[in-house]
């Protein structure tokens, strides 16, 4: 048998190994079981401290709290090593009655070791106080191992626990993984050297990415094992340890549903119904429309309407701008004065757009998005979107980056790494660059719809989704890819917590102020320089056939498109300001909004594309997206003209 580092004070045959998640009361239980004679030593080669003692004449060791046997920290490595080293021992797992889900997730992993296991459900006093009931007898039946409820700090249940040491047996209930994983385990287990009974557990740990263990137990087969792990990993969009945890969680959730009674079961029930509705092919669409309508009212009407009005008219109009102009009067150099408060001034333009227009919109958007996120709706949206994507012939895995893109496009572009073929990756990158806005931009674009009547909003939505689908469809013809199933572990629908939403909103606003505002300032500076050198006038003249003739927009929108190259929300803010000033008609707002929505999200996104896929690809994406966005706008403009749509 492969030896692991031994702790001298642990010599002897049968041991009790105390295992559990952090803070479940292991140390308290250790104290209750051992009394006074405790020895504390360092695990060889680490700073991890271990307490050892004796109970009923048997050596007992308290291990560091862990989330899983997936060894990434020293604590986890030490616990793993003790469990693997003490082959014949009794595993005493301390579980937290208040959060049995987390504890049972570990139980499922410990069960794979195939050792006698005793499950101590601790903190039942606190659970009782919160109205949480654990049906211990039923859990015992389901697991096929003994379960004892305790309160470690008062000694309740400790004697019963002690009396079960001799009769403990391995857990019968095991997780069945999907076919690919089970096959990999079946092939891996025989390659492991010198193990006795825990091959399955070790094989699963190696699949989860424990390279150290692969090296230690693989011996001559190491290369073969590594190849097997790599081959299995290729079949999943996410790293294998997520896949394993996900499948274990499904087994755990069945157990929890059967044995835990929560006081808020009724609320959970309502959440379940809502969750099912959100996934329903027909009702799901109704839920989506309802969600979007609420969003529109909150972000479009309240944020982009009421709040922006106040900020622009009162705060900036009567406060900041007059004050800044007055102060600027003292600056003797006209160039500097214009740079601050001129037409393309840092205060009059960058700050006004950034603070007066975009800030109220993104604030309301961040709040609404946070609520949606914390309620568990977004993953369901991903599943809903999976169907049309499949119809496109697009790999189902593509949905994940698309949903992540709602948070941050740059982040999402990086997650395209999980896609198998280069073609898949390129396609999603392209679609992301084309249509999916990150949350701040989605907010500003939604805010602009406040200037459109409902019919025009529908046209905007239809054009943008239609274009995405058309591009997706065309790309999937050019790029044949095999279809693969996409399974997302769905979290429960729940009620969002206020404190969470507030903190997240604040963090996002902080990010916005630190990272987006400087880019706005840069854009304004660019316009200022272009204006001063006369280049802006020239550009406007050159662009006139496109902007005025093709899109039917006033010349002044050219500047918005120019800064839109930097960040499309800044471009949208410029258009927004023009719309507020009454310079744009409804069809003009619609056309310009469609064009800016289809723009590349931001410079950062282009840089990430360049790094992930090479400069040439970035060049192609940019070279395709911008002309394409304008082409769609031109078509829309003439479409509206031909059909005489006025709204």
């Amino acid at each position: 048998m492969t030896r692991f580092p031994i702790i001298p004070s642990l010599e002897g045959d049968v041991h009790v190994i105390l295992v559990g998640n952090p803070n479940v009361g292991k140390s308290a239980l250790f104290g209750a079981l051992t009394g006074r004679y405790v020895e504390i030593s360092n695990f060889p080669g680490t700073t991890v401290e271990l307490s050892t003692g004796h109970t009923d004449g048997m050596p007992l060791v308290d291990t560091p709290g862990i989330q899983s046997l997936h060894a990434r920290s020293d604590d986890e490595r030490v616990t793993r090593d003790i469990l693997l080293e003490r082959g014949g021992s009794l595993v005493l797992q301390v579980a937290d009655a208040r959060n049995l889900r987390r504890s049972l997730l570990l139980t499922m992993q410990l069960a794979e070791l195939d050792r006698p296991l005793l499950l101590d459900v601790n903190m039942v006093d606190e659970a009782r106080e919160r109205g949480i009931q654990v049906d211990v007898v039923h859990l015992e039946q389901l697991l096929g191992a003994q379960v004892v409820p305790t309160v470690a700090v008062t000694g309740e249940g400790i004697e019963t626990l002690r009396s079960r040491f001799q009769t403990a047996r391995p857990v019968r209930h095991r997780v069945r993984y999907d076919a690919a994983i089970e096959e990999a385990v079946a092939r891996l287990a025989p390659l492991l050297e010198g193990r006795d009974g825990d091959e399955r557990a070790i094989a699963l740990m190696i699949l989860a990415g424990d390279a150290e263990l692969a090296a230690r137990c693989g011996g001559a087969h190491r290369a073969e094992i590594e190849a097997l792990v790599a081959r299995t990993a290729e079949r999943y969009p996410r790293p294998l340890h997520f896949v394993l945890t996900g499948q274990r969680l499904r087994a755990v959730d069945e157990l929890v549903a059967a044995v835990v009674r929560h006081p808020e079961t009724r609320q959970a029930h309502a959440g379940e119904t809502l969750g099912r509705l959100a996934l329903h092919p027909v009702w799901g669409v109704a839920v989506l429309i309802a969600v979007l309508a609420l969003f529109y009212l909150f972000v479009g009407r309240l944020g982009a309407g009421v709040c922006v009005n106040w900020m622009e008219k009162v705060f900036f109009g009567r406060g900041v701008n007059p004050l800044a102009t007055w102060l600027a009067g003292f600056i003797p150099v006209p160039l500097v004065r214009d740079l601050l408060v001129g037409e393309y001034g840092l205060i009059t333009m960058a700050l006004t757009y950034g603070i007066a227009i975009v800030l109220p919109i993104v604030l309301t958007f961040f709040i609404a998005f946070g609520l949606l996120e914390d309620s568990g709706y977004l993953p369901r949206l991903a599943v809903m979107m999976d169907r049309p994507f499949k119809a496109l012939g697009l790999n189902g895995k593509a949905v994940l980056p698309m949903v992540l893109g709602l948070g941050c496009d740059t982040m999402a572009t990086m997650t395209t790494r999980i896609l198998e073929t280069r073609k898949d990756r390129l396609m999603v990158t392209l679609l992301l660059a084309l249509g999916v806005p990150c949350s701040a931009q989605l907010g500003v674009i939604m805010g602009m719809t406040a200037y459109l009547p409902p019919a025009a909003i529908v046209v905007w939505g239809a054009v943008v989704t239609g274009v995405m689908f058309a591009v997706g469809w065309a790309a999937s013809r050019v790029i044949p890819g095999e279809r693969s199933d996409f399974i997302l572990e769905l979290p429960p629908i729940r009620r969002p917590q206020l404190v969470n939403i507030v903190i997240k909103t604040v963090a996002r606003l902080e990010w916005y102020l630190k990272e987006v505002l400087p880019l706005f300032a840069l854009g304004t500076l660019l316009l200022f320089v272009l204006d001063r050198t006369g280049a802006l006038h020239l550009l406007e003249r050159w662009a006139a056939p496109l902007v005025e003739g093709g899109l039917g927009l006033p010349r002044a929108t050219t500047a918005s498109f120019i800064v839109g190259f930097l960040r499309r929300d800044y471009g949208a803010a410029g258009l927004f300001a023009l719309a507020r000033a009454g310079a744009l008609s409804v069809p003009q707002v619609l056309v310009s909004l469609v064009v800016i929505t289809l723009f590349v999200p931001c410079v950062a996104n282009v840089l990430v594309i360049a790094r992930e896929h090479g400069t040439k690809v970035a060049f192609w994406v940019v070279g395709f997206v911008f002309p394409f966005a304008f082409a769609v706008g031109v078509l829309l403009h003439f479409g509206l003209l031909v059909f005489g749509v006025h709204f």
Binding site: L404, V502, I503
Partner: protein, 70 residues
Amino acid sequence: MLCPLCGCEFDETDHSCLSECPMAAIQGCNLICCPNCGYQMVDESKSGAAKLLRRLLHPPGDPGKKEPTP
């Protein structure tokens, strides 16, 4: 860390944009994305405002967490 939404376990260092976002050269995205469900969490080590707010809402000596009674 454990994603509070879907319960999936992941390594937060892989999933913040600090090293990845080119725009994040100064201090990085202050959010961490769960790779399973896309849920975003605040990385308080990178968001001073969020850390401050959390402290205000839960002062260190908060009696809300019951001290153990041996």
